[in-house]
């Protein structure tokens, strides 16, 4: 029986009942509403203001600057995630399947470093490594790949800050694939890579997509790390900051609202799409 006792016992009338039977839970709800309330108020605030002047909003939404910046941000984010999937997936698998050891602990900590560092520090680290005179920037600029104030810079900054999100989610997915399935595949004649390709990876697709979405969200949201290495071309965050700093609230607020609508919409669609992915237990 996987039935939860203790919680309110049925959906309908759950809140009405709370008042009579369980004031503690009611207080918890009220306190929780304070946190949720900030987000709701913030969204309502901007929505009401912007929808009151739809002409201006549409003008901003249709401007090539905004559209170009959104496409650039989403594209660079996708690009960063693609690289992450390619290189992060093997790392996640190694971490998921190796036994605890000092080395493993160290690698795990290094993976988490971008989570811990302030964003401008992360940006500076990336800048120092990829600037024209940097350890990686110098040799790469020789072969024509420049990072400073260029698209590759945006991608590498996004990659750096988003990497823990993808790797940790992917790793969790791999850890959830029963080792017995891999063992059986091995005894049936599949080598390590064949087993990985035919069993482990297909069963982790859901986590892979969730990790990719999560990492993508982090990537397109980044500001500090990106502006350190590539103030231009303008990603959304930079565009909003720039217009906030130079033109004031009105334009930046409209751009922000467009971005909110597009972001929430895209994430909603992605979540819906992945909902039916990799669910084998209840397939007919």
């Amino acid at each position: 029986m996987d039935i939860k006792a203790g919680g309110p016992s049925s959906d309908k009338g759950q809140w009405r009942r709370l008042w009579y039977t369980d004031r503690c839970m009611l207080w918890f709800c009220i306190m929780g509403a304070a946190i949720v309330g900030i987000t709701v108020l913030a969204l309502a605030n901007i929505a009401l203001t912007e929808l009151a002047d739809p002409v201006h909003l549409l003008e901003i939404a249709a401007s090539s600057e905004v559209i170009g910046s959104i496409l650039l941000t989403f594209g660079a984010g996708a690009n960063a995630v693609l690289i992450l999937v390619l290189f992060g997936t093997p790392l996640a698998y190694v971490l998921a399947r190796s036994r605890p050891s000092r080395l493993k602990g160290l690698v795990e900590s290094i993976v988490d470093v971008p989570l811990i560092l302030p964003h401008t520090v992360a940006g500076l680290l990336v800048y120092l490594l990829f600037m024209r005179r940097g350890w990686l920037g110098a040799p790469l600029s020789e072969i024509g790949l420049a990072f400073e104030d260029a698209y590759p810079g945006t991608v590498v900054a996004m990659l750096f800050v988003a990497s823990p999100f993808f790797i940790n989610t992917m790793r969790e997915g791999f850890e959830k694939v029963p080792i017995h399935l891999e063992n059986v595949a091995r005894t049936l004649g599949a080598g390590t890579f064949t087993t990985f390709r035919t069993v482990t990876l297909p069963l982790s697709l859901r986590h892979m997509f969730n990790g990719a979405i999560f990492a993508w969200g982090r990537a397109i949201g980044e500001f500090a790390a990106v502006i350190m290495i590539a103030y231009y071309p303008f990603i959304i965050s930079t565009l909003i900051y720039y217009s906030f700093a130079t033109e004031g609230i009105r334009t930046s607020r409209s751009i922000a609202f467009v971005v909110i609508v597009v972001s929430l919409g895209v994430f909603y669609i992605l979540r819906r799409l992945t909902r039916y992915l990799g669910r084998y237990d209840d397939r007919a």
Partner: protein, 349 residues
């Protein structure tokens, strides 16, 4: 066929300690022991999924200690059947053939044959999530034998099945062992499976091999008290041989005196093992011990009544519920029990 030569293996805090055993071609071999004793680890070591810290593993006379699992040619079926949830039944069964590079139409023919053989042709396009336990088990078995291993490793394959499905599975396994000549190594904690199927067996307790040998011998005449207790002998009694009489030994167990068949000389401490169904109410035959006692307790368990009788030491006798009722057995009732001397197994330590 399979040889473990002084194999030691550490896995986290678990230690498999210097296990040596030999499994012959065609054996239906059981590995039994309490949970956590390391039974599954032995199976997985044979399959190549763990590498021993020390010792060697030989398959078909060749050392395979560092051979990866995909090159060992052994089948493995886990308790949960471990079907690939993202593949249909037909793809599950064909998996081994596909990864070993068998072409499309050959593989399809093989799989179709297996679907028929295991009576699961109607499930061909279903996904594992929709199958019952018994169906899953047949698919898992078909998948394991699809690549024609000559060794089949089974990790508690019956424990997740209902009794009817168990019977059918046992039938399948006997067929594979006897007709197809597969060497089967099965891990279980069910004594019933061992009695029904085992030709030879090993008892593993706490990572150590306690006893290995012919199943009948291990079950009925174990060499140690731990194994006797594990294989479910109900009466295990410590005693001392007080004298020898006509080929028999007379053993004193805390006041109760029993005749038993053993070579132990007078004065030696021995352990007596008596199965509860070898203790019956009534008077004995020629070679029987007759013991008087008082019923302490009658516990009915399904069709059987387990009667505890105080004869100086407490003995457990088993009879049908009806027999117990016909004899009006109840706490306090005096009763005479007969135990054949030949039914008493003596452990000398």
């Amino acid at each position: 066929m399979i040889e473990l030569d002084h194999v030691s293996l550490t896995l986290g805090s678990f230690l498999l300690d210097d296990v040596s055993l030999t499994i012959n071609r065609g054996d239906y071999y059981f590995i039994v022991g309490p949970s956590g004793a390391g039974k599954t680890v032995i199976l997985e070591a044979i399959a190549g999924l763990h590498r021993p810290d020390q010792g060697r593993i030989l398959l078909r006379g060749e050392e395979v200690t560092s051979l990866p699992p995909e090159k060992r040619g052994v089948g493995l079926v886990y308790q949960d059947f471990s079907l690939f949830p993202h593949m249909s039944v037909i793809d599950n069964i064909g998996y081994g053939l596909r990864v070993q590079g068998m072409g499309g139409s050959d593989a399809r023919r093989e799989v179709a044959g297996l679907l028929d053989e295991f009576g699961i042709a109607h499930l061909a396009n279903r996904y594992p999530g929709t199958l019952s336990g018994g169906e899953k088990q047949r698919v898992a078995l078909a998948r394991a034998v699809a690549v024609k291993p000559d060794i089949l490793l089974l990790d508690e394959p019956l424990s997740a099945l209902d009794p009817v499905t168990q019977e059918r599975f046992i039938h399948d396994l006997q067929r594979l062992n006897r007709e197809d000549g597969l060497t089967i190594v099965q891990v279980t904690h069910s004594r019933r499976e061992v009695r029904l199927l085992a030709t030879r067996m090993a008892v593993i307790i706490d990572g150590c091999l306690m006893e290995e040998g012919d199943a009948g011998v291990v079950l009925n005449a174990p060499r140690s008290r731990e194994v006797a207790s594990f294989v479910g002998i109900e009466n295990i009694l410590d005693g001392v041989v007080v004298k020898r009489a006509g080929g028999h030994a007379v053993v004193d167990i805390g006041g109760l005196v029993l005749e038993a068949v053993t070579d132990a000389p007078a004065g030696e401490a021995v352990t007596l093992c008596i199965r509860s169904d070898d203790i019956a109410p009534g008077t004995p035959g020629d070679l029987g011990n007759s013991v008087a006692g008082v019923v302490v307790r009658v516990v009915e368990n399904g069709p059987i009544a387990e009667v505890r009788v105080d004869c100086g030491v407490e003995l457990i006798a088993a009879m049908t519920r009806r027999a117990a009722r016909d004899l009006c057995l109840a706490p306090g009732i005096p009763v005479t029990l007969s135990i054949e001397a030949a039914a008493i197994h003596v452990i000398r330590e």
